[in-house]
Point group: C2
Chain length 190, copies 2
């Protein structure tokens, strides 16, 4: 059965036929995750690529000083995985934790390989998806380098109001790369 959110996400230009869309979706398994549960824990191998149907996840590392570092937030219609761990079967450096009760579609490495083989066009679809992702990472770097914490906070809340509203201030601060105390002071100013 076709999941329209998933298909719309990956197949923007309608390159896949109806039956291909159906096959595409058949490789994915639904999975429910409760609030605060981990979809992936640091140290374990990431055995899936996931797509968020409902809810919200935080992807973060914990550094040697014990500080959390939020890499990104994956809400509805976002992908989530540890690419490195998934590709190379290495222990993950990332944690993926549900911010609220959530539903994802996941695909195993074996099924991902089968999907690529069976519908070669999907290589192009994911290639384009990854290209867009790189653009976003580059822009985030430039913002981190050229904007102050206050400007970054303002950009974040304006650009992603739906995501921002789901985060605690502590989570937001670790996404912005500042302490939660300082975020509190920033908010007071404005």
């Amino acid at each position: 059965m076709i999941n329209h959110l998933l298909i719309a996400n990956i197949d923007e230009k309608g390159l896949l036929s109806k039956s291909e869309q159906e096959e595409f979706c058949s490789y994915f398994q639904p999975k429910s995750i409760s609030k605060k549960e981990f979809l992936l824990e640091q140290g374990k191998v990431c055995k899936f690529e996931g797509f968020v149907l409902e809810g919200c996840f935080r992807i973060f590392t914990i550094d040697t000083k014990g500080n959390e570092n939020t890499i990104y937030i994956a809400a509805r219609n976002w992908w989530l995985m540890d690419i490195d761990s998934f590709m190379n079967h290495e222990p993950s450096a990332l944690n993926i934790k549900a911010l609220e009760d959530s539903k994802v579609l996941i695909i195993s490495e074996k099924d991902k390989a089968a999907l690529y083989k069976s519908i070669p066009k999907t290589e192009k679809l994911f290639r384009i998806m990854f290209q867009k992702s790189i653009v976003a990472w580059q822009r985030r770097l430039v913002r981190n380098h050229s904007l102050t914490a206050k400007e970054r906070y303002s950009h974040f809340t304006k650009s992603y109001p739906d995501i921002a509203s789901k985060l605690t201030d502590r989570q937001t601060s670790s996404y912005l790369g500042i302490t939660h105390e300082f975020l509190s002071k920033i908010k007071k100013q404005s």
Copy 2:
């Protein structure tokens, strides 16, 4: 004629046959660039993907305050382009400037499309390349958030000694996201 550096870069696992490797290379045009020349200037549309055979390039933006922001350095065996501009035919936000006399192989958008069509396996090769790139961007973000300027400088010079040695301190500082004055003080400390 096969360019072995290019083939080794993209075709790690030897997925392409000898003749495919030859065809792959045939889509690329060599181009020489003198020191300080621009391969791409902010505001112009990026009409190529490039691969560095010799020399070194700096990819950077200039923000509204006039500050340069070095996104990455592309030395021998690296790819360089403005993905966003190349994909969407939009004016580029990036400058690509040669740090020294350099040689690149470039491929036009039309030829890139023809390459993907003629050798579909290349979709997979570039898909994997972009995935690896995302991993690197995520790690750089974590470093920027969790390390001090001094630690970042130390990581940079240790991880990329060949690149670091080609940069002026001003360029290095704009890569690290600090002022050149502060980099000077960091260097004095250690």
